[in-house]
């Protein structure tokens, strides 16, 4: 990780020339110049100029794991809110159960939460999700909290380092959806600790050496308890 100072950019800010740099995510080109299209943090990576959003809706990507809340059950599918601009479709063929025609409500009804995988996003942004993968199921019990989708990578950490820290020190079960919803289950004390820590991660998402600091914090707390 470079110790270069991070920079906040705002929409329409000039970032570079299209001849020398490549326009990455969160940017657009006009008259051979690269501009930022949104509020975010500047990131230069192997010739690409990217803007990593600070805020905004979740942008669904195929293969992402998300936590969804069922909005509506129709005869052969469900509509699920995944915090994207559009509701996602969950077809009966994409669930592990054998659902009879018109009996969808027996399995998932309005308000139920599920862990799901994004199966497909087409050009008109119609989203399909599936429950047919390992570790995907209907959520029973536990808590769901929300963080900004742009901060999810920090909650997970490099190769899952942050999340395994949290699991190790709090003995909670945690599932982080790419859409910013996080499911936590465990004893009350553990949940409180996870909540506190995640809020801290969220607040300090852009600082360096965060994983180490969080580990120290968790270690200290663990000592106090015993």
């Amino acid at each position: 990780m470079s110790e270069e100072k991070r920079e906040i950019v705002i929409p329409s800010q000039f970032l570079g020339d299209a001849k020398t740099d490549k326009a990455g995510r969160g940017t657009f080109i006009e008259d051979g110049k690269i501009y930022s299209e949104r509020l975010g943090v500047l990131n230069k990576n192997s010739g690409y100029i990217n803007v990593i959003p600070l805020k905004g809706r979740y942008d669904p990507v195929e293969g992402d794991f998300v936590i969804g809340i069922v909005e509506e059950a129709s005869t052969s599918s469900w509509l699920v809110d995944i915090n994207a601009p559009y509701p996602a479709l969950l077809h009966v063929n994409e669930v592990p159960w054998d659902v009879d025609f018109g009996e969808t409500e027996k399995y998932l009804k309005h308000g139920d939460s599920i862990m799901a995988k994004i199966l497909q996003v087409d050009v008109s942004k119609k989203i399909q999700i599936t429950l047919k993968d390992h570790n995907l199921y209907k959520i029973k019990g536990g808590h769901i909290i929300y963080v900004e989708p742009s901060k999810v990578p920090r909650v997970i950490g490099k190769k899952g380092s942050m999340i395994s820290l949290l699991k190790k020190y709090t003995r909670c079960r945690i599932f982080v959806g790419q859409n910013g919803r996080i499911w936590i289950d465990g004893d009350d004390e553990g949940i409180a600790k996870v909540l506190h820590t995640i809020r801290k991660i969220e607040d300090e998402a852009l600082s360096y050496g965060l994983t180490d600091r969080i580990e120290n914090l968790l270690k200290k707390d663990a000592k106090d308890v015993r």
Binding site: P11, S12, G40, G56, R57, P85, K125, A205
Partner: protein, 242 residues
């Protein structure tokens, strides 16, 4: 409307002591509301305006959806207590017109093609009015859109120019608007100088019009810097944790 009110005194100063090309005092604050995706509070002279942005989200009712791009729904509303006496609540002819022109101005700068079938809702609430609310509203909406993290080509900005006592001046105040000769609100995209909104009330000669447009564009650029500063002020703190 002829009156014997002197809008410019013998020293060339206006009623509130401003020079002809001087703006009223402007204060902008980004991200003031917690429930909205993005928001902005703006004070422009005696105007107090609050803007909130929601979305992008699925456009409802369905027949308003565009399969190729997002729609922008701006809703301009004046609070009952925003004017002297009382404004009858609810949309009227004037506020519907302003909502429409602001929607169209914002649609030009938001990257709508990224969100087919979606709607971006912009609520502009005028809490206190003192001439130039549509400019204040559009300026606040621009900051709120950026604060909501919505992809856009530019941060739109608006400013008015006008004619009082036969002289072209920037940013009309209340009396100047009521007793002046013309009012010309202009919204631009400051990066390209493109005009997003232009309306005129009253009469200007072609020469005066050119001068007023020039003056308003300059005003827009000044306000644009304030907008960018407001957004930076709100978000630079996230870098200063360590």
């Amino acid at each position: 409307m002829k009156s014997d009110i002197k809008l410019i005194d013998s020293h060339g100063k206006r009623l509130d002591g401003r020079k002809p090309d001087e703006l009223r005092k402007i204060k902008i604050e980004a991200g003031v509301l917690h429930r909205a995706d993005g928001s902005c509070y703006l004070e422009w002279g005696g105007n107090k305006v609050l803007a909130a942005v929601y979305g992008p989200r699925e456009a409802i009712p369905k027949h308003t959806q565009n399969p190729l791009k997002a729609i922008v729904n701006a809703r301009y509303n004046m609070a009952a207590f925003s004017v002297e006496d009382r404004k009858r609540p609810g949309p009227d002819r004037r506020s519907r017109e302003i909502s429409k022109v602001i929607s169209e101005a914002l649609e030009k700068i938001v990257l709508t093609e990224k969100f087919p079938r979606a709607a971006i809702d912009v609520n502009i609430e005028v809490l206190d009015a003192e001439a130039g609310t549509r400019c204040a509203g559009l300026t606040a909406a621009g900051v709120a859109l950026a604060d909501a993290g919505i992809p856009m080509r530019d941060i739109p900005v608006a400013c008015a120019a006008g004619k009082i006592d036969g002289q072209v001046v920037l940013d009309l105040g209340k009396e100047e608007d009521n007793f002046g000769d013309a009012d010309l609100p202009v919204a631009i995209s400051p990066r390209t100088g493109e005009i997003l909104l232009l309306q005129m009330d009253g009469h200007l000669t072609l020469k005066e019009f050119d001068k007023a447009l020039d003056m308003a564009t300059n005003g827009c650029n000044i306000v644009s810097d304030l907008q960018k500063k407001a957004i930076m002020d709100k978000y630079k703190s996230v870098l200063e944790v360590e």
